[in-house]
């Protein structure tokens, strides 16, 4: 990793400073676009899904992002637009989101290469869910479109960056191992959360 890349990485990490992690709350002092932009980064289930999807895309070289890019962009846009219709609840059930995270975690940990059609299907469904789960709070009077656009931009930028940098893991054995360990952690988190949900 070059110094510039490392600087961007640490700058992005600072965005994860934990002031609040409520999915639809506006962060005071920031405009609607920036709020939308930060939303996926401060929503833990979204972050886990993005990590899982991105790592899965980048784990098996060569990195091919054309169809995944198009699928994700279209599905996330569709999900965000559908979230404004009122046909779906404002938030998706967390077990559903974490169920997908479990699938991604297991696939990454096992390093099992899945067919492209399955990869695109999972990507599309997850993007749709992320979009549906990012409904703007009706209490916010203005700027809905900016919030949604910011969210869409962040989702797409995040997954493509994660996939891009995950692809570098192929170069060194240690980084391949680290990616698989990350997958196991993701799966473990998902199992625990699902257990909590089932208990309730």
């Amino acid at each position: 990793m070059t110094r510039r890349q490392a600087a961007w990485f640490w700058a992005c990490l600072l965005l994860l400073t934990p002031s609040t992690a409520h999915a639809h709350m506006m962060i005071k002092g920031m405009g609607p676009f920036v709020n939308g932009l930060l939303h996926p980064l401060v929503t833990i289930p979204h972050l886990l899904l993005l990590l899982g999807m991105g790592a899965l895309l980048g784990q098996h070289p060569p990195l091919r992002l054309k169809w995944p890019m198009l699928t994700f962009a279209a599905s996330s846009a569709l999900g965000l637009l559908l979230s404004t219709t009122g046909w779906f609840p404002p938030t998706m059930p967390q077990p559903l989101l974490l169920g997908f995270a479990l699938v991604f975690g297991v696939l990454i940990a096992s390093a099992y290469p899945i067919p492209t059609w399955l990869q695109l299907t999972l990507l599309g469904l997850t993007a749709l869910l992320l979009g549906l789960d990012s409904a703007v709070d009706k209490a916010i009077p203005t700027g809905h479109l900016q919030i949604l656009f910011g969210t869409w931009l962040c989702l797409n930028l995040a997954i493509y960056n994660i996939a891009f940098y995950s692809a570098f893991c192929d170069r060194k054995k240690w980084s391949q191992i680290g990616l698989r360990v990350l997958g196991s952690w993701l799966a473990a988190i998902a199992v625990l959360v699902l257990a909590f949900a089932l208990k309730k």
């Binding site: 934990p18 297991v106 240690w174 191992i177 799966a187 988190i189 257990a195």
Partner: protein, 201 residues
């Protein structure tokens, strides 16, 4: 061990240990169940010495076994442990948990102390079996009021860092003097496990 490997091992060791202090400062200014859940989950695996020694022993043993075991064991353990945790959360009855946990320290410590190198699948099954006990114990102790997601993130992160600490320490095995350090550490883990088994601690 060459300079590069030594540097990597030292880096992991410092990172693992320093991460246990990091959340206290990074999350200091926030409030509510989300932060409390993460901190609570992060502290849970390190709240009991019996858990700590077993997690470290997994990493140590993986490093002693070398090859695929170095990463396979720390990949298997969290996933199976989470499954055990799920059983505990849902209240599925499982007997002999504390004995199983104490035995895990003794067994894994012996593996490290005597540098026992079974086939990979045997090591995986053994680690997996003990992981269920540890996960179950954590699952039954989980606070019901904690934010489930952040608790799980903190919990898994802490467990993983303990494994990393064990691996980093285990990398010393490649040096002639390091073998003694690693094996003595395994012996200490066995003694601690015996202490818990006979309820000395």
């Amino acid at each position: 061990m060459n300079r590069k490997t030594r540097r990597i091992a030292l880096y992991f060791l410092i990172l693992s240990i320093s991460c246990w202090f990091f959340p206290a400062t990074a999350w200091a200014h926030t409030s509510g169940g989300i932060v409390g859940g993460f901190l609570s989950g992060f502290k849970h695996p390190i709240s009991g010495l019996d858990h700590v020694v077993a997690m470290v022993a997994v990493g140590l043993w993986g490093a002693v076994l070398e090859g695929s075991a170095m990463w396979l064991l720390p990949v298997i353990f969290p996933m199976v442990m989470a499954f055990g945790g799920a059983l505990g959360v849902m209240g599925v009855p499982l007997p002999g948990i504390e004995i199983g946990i104490a035995l895990s320290g003794i067994a894994l410590g012996c593996m490290v102390a005597f540098t026992i190198k079974p086939p990979l699948w045997v090591a995986g099954v053994l680690v997996g079996a003990f992981a269920i006990f540890h996960g179950y114990a954590h699952g039954t102790e989980l606070p019901s009021a904690a934010n489930a997601l952040t608790f799980s993130v903190g919990f898994v992160l802490s467990t993983g860092l303990l494994h990393l600490s064990g691996i980093a320490l285990g990398l010393l095995y490649r040096r002639s003097w390091g073998r003694y350090v690693v094996r003595v550490t395994g012996g200490v883990i066995v003694l601690i496990g015996c202490g818990f088994l006979f309820q000395i601690f």
